[in-house]
Each structure stands twice: as C-alpha cells, then as structure tokens.
C-alpha cells in the first residue's frame, strides 16, 4: 500500500529530512512513527501525501508512483488519504462544520451525504457543540479534533496523522487513539507520528523509529522505548 524504496529527502537548504529509507506499510496496518523532534517524521508523512518530493528514490502510495505522477493526479492520491496535519491547516473563513464538509465537497458528495456524515464525524471527535465556530474561536485541542474529523469524514483507505494528540489532554488523547484503532480495525491503514509514549507503549502496534533521517528500528509490536532509551 505504501512503499518507500531507497528514499532520500534533502531540503533546498541542504538539511537532510530522510536518508536512504526503504520501508513498506501494508494495507490495514497500524503504524506509529516515533523519533525525537526534527528526526524526519513529518518529512516521512509529507512524502506520502506528495507535499514534498523525494530527492532520490521512489515512493509508492495506493498504487500511485509519486515520482512521475502528473500534476493532475495529485488530488486523487490525496483524496485516497485522510491527513491530520501537524499544523492543522483549517480554512480560517469556514466554520468547523464547513471545514469538514469541504473535504466531502471536493469529492463531490451529495448534500444529503454531507448533512449525514459531517455531524457524525464531528460527534466522533467530541465537537458536536462547536460545529458553528470558526477556527480562531476554537481552542488548540478543538482545532486539532476538527482536523481529525476532516481526515476521517471521507472514509479514506489510508489515514495519516501527524501528532494528532499534541494539543489534547491524556483522556481525550486516549479516546482519539481508540478511535483510530477502531477505524483501523474497519480496514483503514493508519500511520501516526506521535510523541505519546504512554499510548504507544500500551497499544502494542508496529513502531518505526526515526533518528536524524534514518530508520533506527522497525518493530512489529513495539513500544516507545524499545531499547530502554528515550527518543
């Protein structure tokens, strides 16, 4: 489903985001990407969604080869993914409801579907009461959950979440992770970059550890500190 072959990403200023990475994530997997700040987690996820292009190597996602994809194909790749961005990326002039609805509008869903799905998605993340609020009227954690609702609403085949609980309290975080697990059990591939040690440890999922752009370990049922070290 997602395959990195010898991928290196060097940013324009010479910083190495990812180095010689070869990795494969199968359909239906649940993968944590962990690693210290600046280790390349977001870079890894951005390569999947074609926000960044690999400097070398090849990225395959949902049957698309990211390298020689025509510009017009990119939206379709992205629609097959649901993405929780680390920096949220909510449309500031749309309410929470409208932001989520927008993700359905771009795939040309009927208004009936939209009216049914959007409240459902907002409900899943516990934000039914904030549907009418604009992003700047929401708390950090509320914004983050709107982003998650937007990522979920189209039932994507792959869900990519960059730090989806960074602004959430432990209880809400746990609920969100449970939600992701549930979605995963319904068949969606889930890739989560996170720092939530407790959750990673308790969930016993595949854990890919990045360190300065390298994959340092990749363990089937891992924990945050596999080798008795903190990342």
């Amino acid at each position: 489903m997602i395959r990195f072959v010898d991928v290196t990403k060097i940013y324009s200023n010479g910083v190495i985001g990812l180095r010689n990475t070869t990795v494969k994530i199968d359909k239906g997997e649940f993968v944590f990407i962990i690693g210290s700040s600046g280790s390349g987690k977001s870079t890894f996820l951005k390569l999947i969604m074609h926000e960044e292009m690999p400097t070398e190597g090849e990225v395959y996602v949902n049957g698309y080869s990211v390298h020689d994809m025509p510009h017009s194909e990119i939206p379709y790749l992205r629609r097959s993914l649901g993405v929780v961005f680390q920096d949220f990326r909510l449309l500031p002039n749309k309410t929470a409801y409208e932001n989520v609805a927008f993700a359905m509008q771009i795939v040309e869903a009927t208004s009936r579907e939209i009216r049914r799905q959007v409240p459902l998605a907002l409900g899943l993340v516990g934000l039914s009461k904030k549907a009418k609020a604009y992003p700047n009227q929401l708390s950090g954690g509320e914004q983050q959950r709107v982003v998650l609702a937007r990522a979920l609403v189209n039932n994507p085949s792959v869900l990519i979440a960059d730090e989806p609980t960074g602004n959430l309290d432990p209880k809400t975080s746990k609920e969100i992770m449970a939600l992701l697990e549930e979605i995963n059990q319904r068949g969606t591939t889930v890739v989560v970059a996170t720092h939530e040690k407790d959750l990673v440890d308790s969930m016993k999922k595949r854990v890919i550890v990045l360190e300065r752009g390298d994959i340092k370990s990749d363990v089937k049922k891992g924990s945050y500190s596999n080798e008795d070290k903190d990342y």
């Binding site: 969604m49 939206p75 992205r78 449309l91 002039n93 795939v107 208004s111």
Partner: protein, 303 residues
C-alpha cells in the same frame, strides 16, 4: 464536474465576495477606476471626432462667376449644381447676387472710402455649395471649373482649413488610440495587480485546499465567480459614475460653449452611447475579473 458542484462553487464565490470585504472592495474599485478613466477618454474621443466631422460638414465650396458672365453661362452652372444636388452629392447651396456681393465687400473693408470707384457692376455673382461628402470636393471642383462663366482661379473650398482639420483629426485619432491603449494596459495591469494581491492574501487557503485533495478547477471555480461578480459590480458602478460625471460635464460645457458663442461645438449627450458603453464596461469587467482571478490563482496551485 457535477451540476451540484458547479452550484456549490458559484455560491462559494458569491460568499467570498461578502466575506472578504476589504479585498472585494479593493478589486471592485480598481475596476471602477479603470473603466471610469477608460470611459471618459472614450467619450472625449467620440466628442472630438464628431465635432470635427461636424465642422467638416459645415465647409462650403465657393464658386465665383466671372464679372462679365452671360446669363446662359450662369444657367449652365445652376443646372450643374442642381443636377448634383438631385444626385445626392450636394446637400444644399445658395447663390449670392452681385448686389449682395457688393454689400459684403463693402462691409468687409474697414474703410468705406476704399471702395471709391468700385460699383455693383464690378462685383461677381457667387455660389456657396455644401457637399454631402467633403471628400468629393476635388471631383466637383474640376468639373465646375470647366464651365465658361466660372472664374477658375477663385474656386475655394477652405481646402487649407480642411487640411488642418484633417490633420488635427488625425492627431487626435492617433493620440486617442495611444492613450486608450496605454490606459487599457494600465487598467489591466492595475486590476491584475489588485487581484494578485487579494489572491496572495489567500494563498495559504488555496494550498490547504490542494493539500486535502481539491482539483484545480474546484479551487479556481469560486475565484472565477468572484472575479465575474466583482467585475460586473465594478462595471455597473463605473457606468453609473461615468454617466453621472459625463452628464454633469456635458451640461456645464455646453452652457459654457453657448455663452462663448461657440455653439457650433457641441458636447453630445450620454444616452445615445449608453447601451454601447454599458456593454463595453460589462464585457471588460467580467473578462478581466474572471481571467485575472484564474491567472492569479494558478501560481499557487502548484503544491
């Protein structure tokens, strides 16, 4: 793209007009300003051209008979002129008798004493002919000078003035075309500048839409609609402004011209050109607004 999506994008575009008040106002007013300037120049050009055309139409062909021309010779010329009038080449003519001519000369000389010895008999009969088409003057002059009774050296058509007017007309035409072209470029430039800035202020939103999988046409749609709406609104405001300002100016200038006994010059009213002006404005506004938006959005789509 499905119908409901097109409807959605249209609604979105209309919403954006209302939501981004500063930017909408800025874009719209730039269109207004551009069209207003354009319109005033256009109206100026129309007026100048029409006034010069009117002056050209007022020119008279003057033909003097010889002092000793016979009645038969006179008749020949009258017949010729009548024939040309029937043929639609001459719009009107009048004949000045020897007596009238004598009076005219007397009046034109500042000192009557100069006329001592100059009698009615010495004066020439003359024809004043208005041509339908000023450009036919050469042909008519050469034909009329064939007649025996005509004083070949004294045929006049204000050729000199005509040439000057033609020249001025030419200057005005070329200057007007240049000015119009320059203003057109400036207008397009100003409008595209403004649109670029308003799009620039929303570049992050465009990028976000791309990142969540919107196709280019989906993102562009509302901007096109927005451009259309603002262009059309701008055209409407510019039209009202132009018609009001022009009518005011027209009234004032015409009053002034009358006061100054320059009433041969006339500033035409707005109504005859109103429909054409509105169509020009509307097309310009819509096209510039729509195209400008699309072009400005494009560079931010590449993510």
């Amino acid at each position: 793209m499905k119908i409901r999506t097109i409807k959605l994008l249209a609604k979105e575009g209309a919403n954006n007009v209302v939501k981004n008040k500063l930017m909408s106002f800025a874009s719209m007013m730039t269109v207004v300003v551009a069209l207003f300037i354009l319109g005033i120049v256009l109206l100026m050009a129309i007026n100048i051209t029409s006034n010069i055309e009117a002056m050209k139409r007022d020119l008279e062909l003057t033909v003097f008979l010889n002092v000793n021309a016979t009645p038969y010779q006179r008749e020949e010329v009258v017949n010729f002129v009548e024939a040309k009038k029937d043929a639609g080449l001459i719009s009107e003519y009048r004949i000045e008798t020897k007596e009238q001519m004598y009076e005219n000369i007397k009046n034109s000389l500042e000192d009557e004493s100069l006329l001592e010895g100059f009698t009615v008999e010495n004066a020439a009969e003359s024809f004043y002919i208005k041509l339908v088409d000023p450009n036919s003057s050469d042909a008519i002059i050469s034909q009329i000078s064939e007649f025996g009774g005509v004083n070949k050296n004294a045929i006049g058509y204000g050729k000199e003035e005509l040439d000057k007017l033609e020249g001025i007309l030419k200057i005005f035409n070329s200057v007007t075309i240049i000015v119009l072209a320059v203003l057109m470029i400036i207008s397009i430039f100003l409008i595209s500048n403004t649109i670029k800035l308003t799009v620039y202020a929303r570049r992050h939103q465009i990028e976000i839409m791309k990142y969540i999988g919107a196709v280019d046409s989906f993102i562009r749609g509302p901007f096109i609609v927005e451009g259309f709406i603002l262009g059309l609104l701008g055209a409407a405001v510019a039209f009202l402004l132009t018609s009001q300002a022009y009518t005011l100016l027209q009234k004032g200038l015409n009053a002034l011209l009358t006061n100054l006994n320059l009433s041969t010059l006339r500033i035409m009213p707005f109504s005859p050109v109103a429909v054409r002006m509105f169509i020009i404005y509307a097309i310009f506004g819509i096209v510039i607004g729509g195209v400008g938006s699309v072009v400005s959005v494009r560079k931010h789509l590449n993510v």
